[in-house]
Amino acid sequence: MLWQYVPIAIMLVLSMGLAALIVALGHLVGPSRPTHRKMIPYESGMVPIGPGMRRQPIRFYRIAMLFLLFDIEVVFLLPWAVVSRKLGLFGFIEALIFIAILLVGYLYAWKGGALEWE
């Protein structure tokens, strides 16, 4: 059973290893002549203003909150999707009802302007 996850483990190791390798190679092979100008944060060639971490607008959080709810919807549909072909029309209609109820909330969010990127 556990052997099914070997490809995922290989992919994890490869992606992390590649990232580490690229950073390490850059340090080892690349010439390093740091000056003050080179060490300041890069901001499209301009002199950076203010701290590196500024407060982000709250609309990111609001969108993420909506995302969380639809994410839970996906988790509910996941076990249904595994056997959806065997369940036939009845199971399909039930899943449609499930989605339709949440679609009301989606329309509410849409009509209320919650999805606008103000």
């Binding site: 039930e94 969010a109 302007g113």
Partner: protein, 182 residues
Amino acid sequence: MVAYWIFALVSLLMVLAALVAVTNRNLVRATMGLVLVLFGNAVLFVLLEAYFLAVAQVIIYIGAIAILIVFAIMLTRHVGDAWGPAFHRAWAWAVVVAGGLAVGLLFWIAHWPAADGKAKSPVDPQYTKLLGKALVAPDGYVIPFEVASALLLAALIGAIYVAWGGRRVKGPYPQRSEEKEA
């Protein structure tokens, strides 16, 4: 045997990550520690052959809740600054409670009949399919399934109502000049 070593490795990693999550005073790093703990949890679910729970763990906790935490940190002032004491006043009591819980759990696990490692997982390997069938079966969980949708709808409308200031937002807000450029 492989599962045993994976369990040991992942558990060790989870304990270390949990320590980072509670002790690191940089909130973003603490969050990354928390994400590592949650991912270790997903691996433990896989070891228990609870594949659906593992997927749900990754999708909900890492995919959505961790993002919410990161955004909550990003919209807070003084993110990187450590302020206030790192230890709570009652930390000694917390140590006593946590230690007592750990001893109790270890005692319980040591006397658990399946602790010799020979017990088979009680989970049916086909259980994601069984769950999918049960969710839409009339004699199964079809009512809770549809009620869950209504519950999500209530949460969605409530979240919109609270987060958008209890009024329906019409049209785009007037933008501040700094945002217009971006």
